[in-house]
């Protein structure tokens, strides 16, 4: 008993931790994995300082391959390493990883069903100042369309650590989308990620918000504001976008007359599409997709950009109230 108390006192609660970028959590977890497992190898395309694979590179130089600015070659090389029994983590910005090397991912990762982990950072609009050329808003759509691919978008740094450890043990192609900006911790301390299992904060009677990535924190904020107005809003963290947690989705759709999806991605082809596809065939309910409305991003501060594109908690609250009218 005494020991237990001491341990829990030593451990900082997630709710008290300062916001941390999911890419930073990736870099730290990769280091730990590298110490534990000699089959982990890492590839990067000249962005290791930004993707945070540089920590692994420094600690395990013989297992780190900088491929230069050559994403297509990076993916093929990763597939080759996987075919000799290594577990390659290949990282660059989401826009280059999924767009520049899509055919390579299709042929040598998915069709060949190789054990490659595609861990992309700088997903979404919160890339910020670099602007549209660097903001991946279509990556989930591109990856979700590929057979054999698992698609994961963690919500916070703790979930990211859990995701990275999980996918290292999982056999098969995985795409993990991480962000550049610091994000608050949203998941409980005892949460452990499982592929294909959503985390339900609560199920709402009026509306349920199915969110992924940074939009989970936004959804929680919106739900708290809505509660004050007497609207019972549920929040679900759908971190695995493929395969979807269909059971949880059905539960949410049966509980409320409205489903909202929220993602830092185009409303075409991402979480909103995946949820709409499933519900329209299995339990049709009105779905409103919150995301980037079929447009490119632009330069700006990430918080400003979220507001500009209607992805703030206030925007979400307004959208929900409008849809419930």
């Amino acid at each position: 008993m005494g020991e237990k108390t001491q341990n829990s006192e030593l451990k900082t609660q997630n709710s008290e931790k300062k916001p941390k970028a999911t890419r930073d959590a990736y870099g730290d977890t990769l280091m730990e994995l590298g110490q534990k497992r000699s089959d982990i190898v890492v590839l990067d395309a000249d962005l290791s300082c930004s993707t945070k694979t540089n920590k692994f590179a420094k600690a395990f130089p013989e297992r780190f391959f900088n491929m230069g600015i050559a994403e297509q070659d990076m993916i093929g090389t990763a597939a080759g390493l996987a075919l000799t029994g290594k577990v390659p983590f290949a990282s660059t910005f989401a826009v280059f990883e999924t767009g520049r090397a899509w055919d390579q991912i299709r042929l040598t990762v998915c069709y060949s069903n190789t054990n490659v982990k595609l861990i992309a950072t700088h997903g979404g609009i919160t890339v910020g100042e670099d602007g549209a050329s660097h903001q991946a808003l279509e990556d989930i759509a591109l990856m979700r369309a590929l057979p054999n691919m698992t698609v994961i978008v963690p919500a916070d740094a703790a979930e990211t650590a859990s995701v990275i450890n999980t996918v290292a043990d999982y056999r098969g192609p995985v795409y993990v989308r991480l962000g550049r900006a610091r994000v608050p911790y949203v998941l409980p301390d005892d949460y452990n990620f499982e592929i294909g299992r959503a985390f339900t904060f609560n199920i709402g009677k009026d509306v349920n918000i199915i969110a992924a990535g940074i939009m989970v924190a936004t959804a929680k904020k919106a739900a708290a504001i809505l509660a004050k107005d007497g609207i019972d809003a549920g929040v679900i963290n759908m971190s695995t976008i493929k395969p979807l947690d269909e059971e949880t989705l059905l539960r949410a759709a049966r509980s409320s007359k409205l489903i909202i999806t929220a993602e830092e991605h185009s409303i075409i082809g991402g979480l909103g599409s995946a949820v709409s596809e499933f519900l329209s065939e299995n339990h049709p309910v009105p779905v409103k997709r919150i995301g980037i409305n079929d447009t490119f991003g632009c330069s700006g501060d990430s918080e400003e950009l979220l507001k500009f594109h209607g992805l703030s908690a206030e925007d979400m609250m307004k959208t929900i109230k409008e849809a419930l009218k």
């Binding site: 093929g76 090389t77 597939a79 996987a82 075919l83 069709y111 060949s112």
Partner: protein, 280 residues
């Protein structure tokens, strides 16, 4: 398991005999399928036979044998060549060749590693095999595995930018357990390679990228074997063998004909071709 079940063939006449059989299998399966790539399968046949039967360690009964040498057909459209060799090597019975390009067949139109054990990686979208070969070679080195990696590309295929990304990588990481081959048959679908999109001077380009380059007559078994020996003995840099070949080699009326890139022989052509190969 794990031992090589078939002895390696070093006798030039024996290898030529195997190449003849492989060409007959190619023509048979293409005619039966009434679909597929004739010209490029025949042009690379001698080099591929030399690699598989004189150099490579493998066990058809244990396709995932850890110390096997790896072969990647980056020019995946020459799949009939790979299937003919695998059948001849004992990976599967010759009858399976009758199922080329048929529904649910392990012999897909382009090589598919999840359909047929012994295919190392799926290919078909050009330009990707050399990157995978590099990755395998690096993985083998990390494990101190003495196995080697072979990769055959088409000459037209070297128009793909990824080939040159991979060429840089192989030199940068000093990947000397890799031997690449360019099947330099001079033709691609739309016409002569030099006319569609010039790639010359091929030798100088690879040399400038830091490779050990060997030029051979890709139908001269002695030259091919010598080149493969030299590749194996070259340390600190990757080797590429530029094999001057004839598209459709072995069948006079297919040779140098761009029309037979992606067209299978008719029954009449097949019978004529078989006679030529038997007499050749």
């Amino acid at each position: 398991m794990g031992a090589v079940t078939k002895g390696k063939i070093t006798d030039i006449h024996e290898l030529q005999k195997v190449a003849k059989k492989v060409r007959l299998h190619i023509l048979h399966m293409l005619t039966k399928a009434n679909s597929g790539h004739t010209g490029g399968s025949l042009s690379a046949a001698d080099v591929a036979v030399a690699i598989y039967f004189s150099k490579m360690n493998f066990d058809p009964k244990d396709p995932f044998y850890k110390k096997r040498d790896r072969f990647i057909l980056s020019k995946g459209h020459a799949a009939p060549l790979l299937y003919a060799i695998m059948a001849e090597a004992g990976y599967f019975p010759l009858e399976v060749l009758d199922h080329l390009r048929k529904i649910e067949s392990p012999l897909q139109g382009h090589p598919c590693c999840t359909s047929l054990p012994g295919i190392e990686v799926s290919t078909g979208s050009l330009g990707q095999g050399l990157s995978v070969a590099n990755g395998m070679a690096l993985g083998l080195k990390l494990d101190n595995n003495p196995a080697r990696v072979y990769c055959i590309m088409g000459d037209g295929e070297t128009q793909e930018g990824q080939i040159w990304e991979a060429a840089m990588t192989a030199a940068h990481y000093k990947i000397d357990n890799l031997c690449a081959v360019v099947d330099n048959n001079g033709l691609q679908i739309d016409g002569p390679v030099q006319k569609v999109m010039g790639i010359a001077p091929l030798h100088d380009k690879w040399a400038a990228f830091g490779w050990h380059v060997i030029d051979v007559d890709g139908h001269n078994m002695e030259q091919i074997l010598n080149a493969l020996d030299k590749a194996e003995n070259t340390k600190g840099k990757p080797t590429v063998i530029i094999a001057k070949t004839t598209k459709g080699r072995g069948v006079s009326f297919f040779e140098g004909k761009v029309e037979y890139h992606g067209v299978a022989p008719s029954q009449e052509e097949y019978e004529k071709a078989v006679k030529e190969i038997h007499n050749g």
